[in-house]
């Protein structure tokens, strides 16, 4: 599924201008420990987190993730969005908590083959 389709289906708010929306989302990852994401998130994953600070952008860039969804209706710091736009990392916001959002993503077929 393309990132743009996910945004439509799950009513995510895109917070970064010029984000690449036709990228294919390969899978998902949920974690709030940046060191864990660096070690375990896979290229093309969409990452669900409640962290808001700008280091999340560097982590997404490093692992070449499809994008970051901030959960629970939290708002990313302005610095984070600025950096994300510079580095071309899409950031979206959802009012769903991580569990609910992950479940919906999985239902929509965002999953890696067993």
């Amino acid at each position: 599924m393309k990132l743009g389709e996910l945004v439509e289906e799950l009513k995510l708010d895109v917070r970064t201008a010029g984000a690449e929306m036709d990228r294919t989302v390969e899978g998902g990852y949920v974690s709030d420990l940046l060191s864990d994401v660096i070690a375990n998130a896979k290229e093309g994953d969409v990452w669900l987190t409640l962290q808001l600070h700008q280091n999340i952008v560097a982590v997404a860039f490093l692992n070449n993730l499809a994008g970051i969804v901030i959960v629970g209706g939290r708002e990313p710091d302005p610095d984070t969005l600025k950096k994300a736009e510079e580095q071309g990392v899409p950031i979206m916001v959802s009012s769903w908590p991580a569990y609910e959002l992950a479940g919906r993503l999985y239902e929509k077929g965002v999953r890696r083959r067993e």
Binding site: L33, I38, A39, H53, N55
Partner: protein
């Protein structure tokens, strides 16, 4: 004749107040401005800002502490060896050490529990420098990441080397003990809590009631030269030194943390 009261508090020693900033990063931290936070530059600005003692605390490394102290030789500025260690829960702790040797052995243990390789394009470069601001090495470890050591183990490894363990910027929403753990776990033997320049002690004590049991200090956490000393602690000591700081944090023999100060950013 020293009045009796004074003798009791300071036992007749000559106590003065000193300005200290115990959390300053160098070019070894990937998140600092390239070629900005070098030993000579840090010492120069620290002196301009009226600081008596600083601690060099890079992320998960202590490779620039000795060079910064050598750069300060003869200037009157005291430089302590420190390191900002990230626990497995991503809580930051400042470890302050009595000597470079003890900081180096602490670093060995940190390095043994730190994985990944730095990507300079993403995180920035990690320069090990000498006292003349010349680059001697680039550290290849992923210093920005977290160790696999729990908060308890981080505090223990600091104490095992006779160091002082301070929880970094406890008021902040990223990498602070309250943001990451929610509270200070029982039995975590912290020597002090550090608050950032964004808050003050009254606000902190109201928001996090657990703070009342610990000495509070404030530091700049400077990643840029203009931030050095923007938050500083005033300590009553005989002289600016590691052992005197230990006494001031413990509040013994008349030594004390007397004030948390703020300065505007240096333009």
């Amino acid at each position: 004749m020293v009045p009796l009261k004074k003798q009791k508090r300071g036992q007749g020693v000559n106590l003065k107040t000193y300005r200290i900033d115990l959390h300053i990063h160098t070019v070894l931290s990937p998140c600092t401005e390239i070629a900005d936070m070098t030993p000579r530059a840090i010492v120069k600005v620290a002196l301009e800002r009226g600081l008596d003692m600083i601690a060099v605390c890079d992320h998960n490394s202590a490779r620039n502490t000795a060079a910064t102290r050598r750069a300060a030789a003869g200037s009157g500025l005291v430089v302590l060896a420190g390191m900002e260690i990230a626990s497995s829960e991503e809580v930051h702790f400042v470890g302050l050490f009595p000597s470079d040797e003890e900081a180096a052995t602490a670093q060995e243990e940190v390095y043994a529990h730190l994985f990944g390789e730095n990507d300079e394009d993403v995180f920035g470069c990690q320069a090990v420098v000498n006292e003349d601001d010349e680059v001697e090495d680039l550290d290849q470890r992923l210093l920005i990441s977290a160790t696999t050591l729990s908060a308890e183990r981080v505090v223990r490894l600091i104490h095992d080397r006779n160091g002082l363990a301070v929880a970094s910027h406890v008021d902040r929403q990223s990498y602070g003990i309250f943001s990451q753990l929610g509270f200070i776990p029982d039995g975590l033997k912290l020597d002090a809590l550090e608050i950032s320049s964004r808050t003050d002690s009254d606000t902190t004590l109201k928001k996090y009631r657990q703070c009342t049991g610990y000495p509070l200090i404030t530091s700049s956490d400077a990643h840029y030269l203009e931030d050095i000393g923007k938050a500083f602690t005033i300590a009553r000591m005989v002289q600016p030194s590691f052992e005197e700081l230990r006494k001031a944090l413990a509040g013994v023999e008349g030594r004390a943390i007397s004030e948390l100060g703020r300065m505007a950013r240096r333009e």
